[in-house]
């Protein structure tokens, strides 16, 4: 793992009217590292993702890319940097077919004309590596099942040459086989030295593939843990906030000294 994080968030804050969705959030993702972002419903995970992806830029704070501060104000900026995002609300165009969605904003052209044949060929190739069964890559995505749509959204994020892939609950709608495929995929991304930010409520999945777990609670950092050195209970108590109570904090301290120290609050 290299020393400079490919993506680092410093002091990100975001407000929606009366809701302070994010407060001073810090996060680092290194190349070849899978970071899981966990937290209860409404903790601010998707808001943070949208801030990184340029869909809903943060009010305050800086984003560093390879150690240099960058501005991400539009989705286009994030794509230019090499950030690919799978959103929780999938963001597909229902009226376009699978190929159209996969290559949207990134079409293959021969001179100025769309090269449908090549796009279709690559789409079939890509989808087959994700073990997805789709009746035809030419059906509108509106007619696909929830899990099929999700796989299309995941496949979409892999098309460019991203350096950081953000997956917001990618396995929420997937079956057993497809979930395993996505987890395999995450590991393959790590092998290719990409940074991965994985959001999931499934602790087993999180522990299976991630190197570090960052916990968000009520829009703030609530600890970063190294997976191999942390028990599931510790992560869960950080998510639920039970770690704020003196007894659990004390127990955790004595039980495992190797635990990461970064607990704010």
């Amino acid at each position: 793992m290299s020393a400079t994080p490919v993506l680092a968030l410093r002091g990100i804050s975001k407000r929606f009217g009366a809701v302070q969705a994010l407060t001073d959030v810090e996060l680092e993702i290194h190349p070849g590292e899978v970071v899981a972002l966990v937290g209860d419903n409404g903790a601010g995970k998707s808001t943070l993702v949208k801030a990184i992806a340029g869909v809903g830029p943060a009010d305050e704070g800086t984003v560093e890319w390879d150690g240099e501060p960058v501005r991400i104000e539009r989705p286009h900026d994030a794509q230019e940097l090499g950030i690919a995002t799978v959103y929780q609300d999938l963001a597909l165009c229902d009226n376009l077919d699978v190929v159209g969605n996969l290559f949207l904003g990134n079409e293959i052209k021969s001179r100025t004309v769309l090269n449908e044949v090549e796009m279709e060929r690559r789409a079939r190739e890509l989808l087959s590596t994700l073990s997805i069964r789709i009746p035809s890559v030419r059906v509108p995505v509106a007619s696909l099942s929830g899990g099929q749509r999700q796989t299309v959204a995941i496949a979409r994020s892999l098309l460019g040459e991203p350096r950081v892939v953000i997956l917001d609950e990618p396995t929420a709608a997937l079956g057993v086989e497809q979930t395993a495929q996505v987890l395999d995929l995450v590991e393959r991304l790590r092998e290719r030295e990409l940074g991965v930010l994985l959001i999931s409520h499934n602790m087993a999945d999180v522990r299976a593939v991630s190197d570090r777990v960052a916990v968000l609670r009520l829009g703030r950092n609530n600890g970063t843990f190294t997976v191999s050195e942390t028990t599931q209970e510790e992560i869960v108590s950080a998510i639920t906030g039970a770690s704020d109570n003196v007894v659990t904090r004390r127990n955790a301290r004595t039980a495992d000294n190797a635990r990461t120290t970064e607990v704010h609050k």
Binding site: A53, V55, R74, P75, H76, Q79, T85, Y87, L90, A91, L92, C93, D94, N95, L96, D97, V99, G100, L104, G105, N106, E107, K109, T112, V113, L114, E116, V117, E118, E120, R121, R124, E125, L127, S128, S131, I132, R133, I134, P135, S136, V137, R138, V139, P140, A142, S143
Partner: protein, 463 residues
């Protein structure tokens, strides 16, 4: 279904050339009732795939899918199934045209005469050209109420510059088109950047541009155009040489056949499903029949009308832009989900502004055609039922009011329907009251078909 399908109409996923049957789409349960002719083949295909290619997961045939039979029978069956599931495409409007033709012909045998048909085509060009712009706007899921006023204003700009100020006519035409484009871009700006609903912006345009036109025309109110000028020729010039019409028909048919075959070869080379040869030939014939009939009709009157050539050219270019360029893909994407389009990095406001600019430009082009028909620009240019006719043409032709679906060919078909009704009613001498009622009823029928087919497509899992 326009979406990303390369050659419109059917999903491109047809039976490939080798022996592996490829599924076409999800089976609506009732369509599977008729004995499921393909299911035996499906299992065979699955077995083959199981032992063969490693990329079998896409090609693996899910036994629940309806599998299309090879060749022509499969094509017909697939067509019928798609009609049943609400994917009506151009079928209702073509049936409508035939019914209208038959009804008027029974009333007055002059209706299907080549004079009348030729005039009908020429007169439909103005409405149809404006409707091409409306198709773009409808695909975006929006509406443009200003096209009538913009068309009148552009005609006025042309007349004033060319006649009153003696400007070179080509330059005046260009400036008139630019005026339309600018008006459209202004609507687009207020809609996309300021966030005013398009309905209201273009309603303001409807009033405002009409006022500006009256201002430009000045006190006289009518400016006659040069009888022998460029604009006069738009609807009055005919290529008298019989070879012109036949040649154009032949070029169109051969180009269609050539591109279809080329596409088929590319698809085979890339190992993606392609259309069977029988289907390509059938499609070519379906295109060739009306093309040559129309050519014969034109030739037995004054020859191939310039207006028809321009109109067809615009429809073909528009179709190319929508289905074969990234820009067209972006228009569909914004119409399908502007949120998803934005997240995909598409500049949504830019797409919206340019689409309105296209609508404004097409309105100006149509305005010149209308001016050409009366050889003048006057205070009633672009007024009356023009706006409604243009929107109706796009919708009657099969472009969805719900956004995200449509093609420029609907402008052609819809404009022909509208003009057929006009022309038939004029022949019968029934006056505008009945005509408007009938046009209204046809529009309602088209919208009903659009809504119902959308619902059926939803339940059939295709929309």
């Amino acid at each position: 279904m326009t979406t990303g399908t390369p050659t419109d109409g059917t999903p491109a996923d047809d039976t490939p050339a080798d022996d592996t049957p490829v599924n076409v789409s999800k089976a609506p349960s009732e369509a599977g009732g008729s004995g499921r002719p393909g299911s035996g083949a499906a299992e065979k295909g699955a077995a083959e795939n199981g032992t063969a290619a490693p990329d079998a997961s896409v090609a693996t045939v899910d036994p629940r899918l309806l599998v299309r039979q090879k060749g022509f029978a499969g094509y017909l069956e697939d067509l019928l199934r798609r009609l049943r599931t609400g994917e009506l495409g151009s079928v209702p409007v073509i049936v409508g045209l035939l019914v209208i033709g038959a009804v008027f012909q029974l009333q007055d045998s002059a209706f299907l005469s080549s004079n009348n048909l030729s005039d009908l085509f020429v007169q439909s060009a103005g409405t149809g050209l404006i409707a091409v712009g409306i198709v773009f706007v409808l695909i975006l899921g929006e509406i443009d109420l200003s096209v009538g006023s913009v068309s009148g204003m552009s005609a006025a700009v042309l007349a004033v510059l060319n006649i009153n100020h003696g400007m070179n006519e080509v330059l005046a035409v260009l400036l008139a088109l630019l005026t339309g484009m600018a008006a459209g871009a202004i609507h687009g700006f207020f809609f996309a950047r300021i966030g005013v609903p398009a309905f209201v912006v273009t309603l303001a345009g409807l009033l405002g541009w009409n006022g500006l036109m009256l201002q430009i025309l000045g006190p006289s109110g009518t400016i006659n155009l040069d009888d022998d000028g460029l604009v006069a020729h738009l609807t009055n010039y005919y290529f008298a040489d019989k070879a012109a019409a036949m040649g154009l028909a032949t070029v169109c048919v051969l180009a269609f056949l050539g591109f279809s075959l080329l596409d088929q070869r590319r698809r085979k080379a890339a190992d993606v499903p392609s259309r069977p040869l029988s289907e390509i030939l059938l499609r070519t014939v379906v295109l060739a029949v009306p093309a040559y009939v129309a050519a014969a009709v034109f030739n037995s009157y004054k020859g191939l009308p310039l207006a028809v050539v321009i109109f067809l050219g615009v429809v073909v270019i528009g179709d190319f832009v929508l289905r074969r360029t990234s820009y067209g893909r972006q228009v569909f994407a914004v119409g399908g989900s502007s949120e998803a389009a934005g997240r995909a990095g598409i500049n949504v406001p830019m797409v919206r502004i340019t689409v309105y600019a296209i609508a404004g430009t097409m309105a100006a082009v149509g305005g010149l055609f209308f001016a050409s028909q009366i050889n003048a620009a006057n205070q009633s240019s672009g007024a009356g039922s023009l706006l409604m006719n243009c929107i109706a043409a796009a919708v009657i032709g099969g472009t969805s009011l719900f956004g995200g679906r449509g093609k420029t060919w609907s402008a052609l078909l819809g404009a022909l329907v509208i003009q057929s009704i006009n022309s038939g009613m004029a022949l019968l001498g029934t006056g505008s009251a009945l005509r408007d009622m009938i046009t209204g009823a046809v529009l309602l029928a088209a919208v009903v078909i659009d809504s119902v087919s959308r619902r059926t497509q939803k339940t059939a899992g295709r929309a």
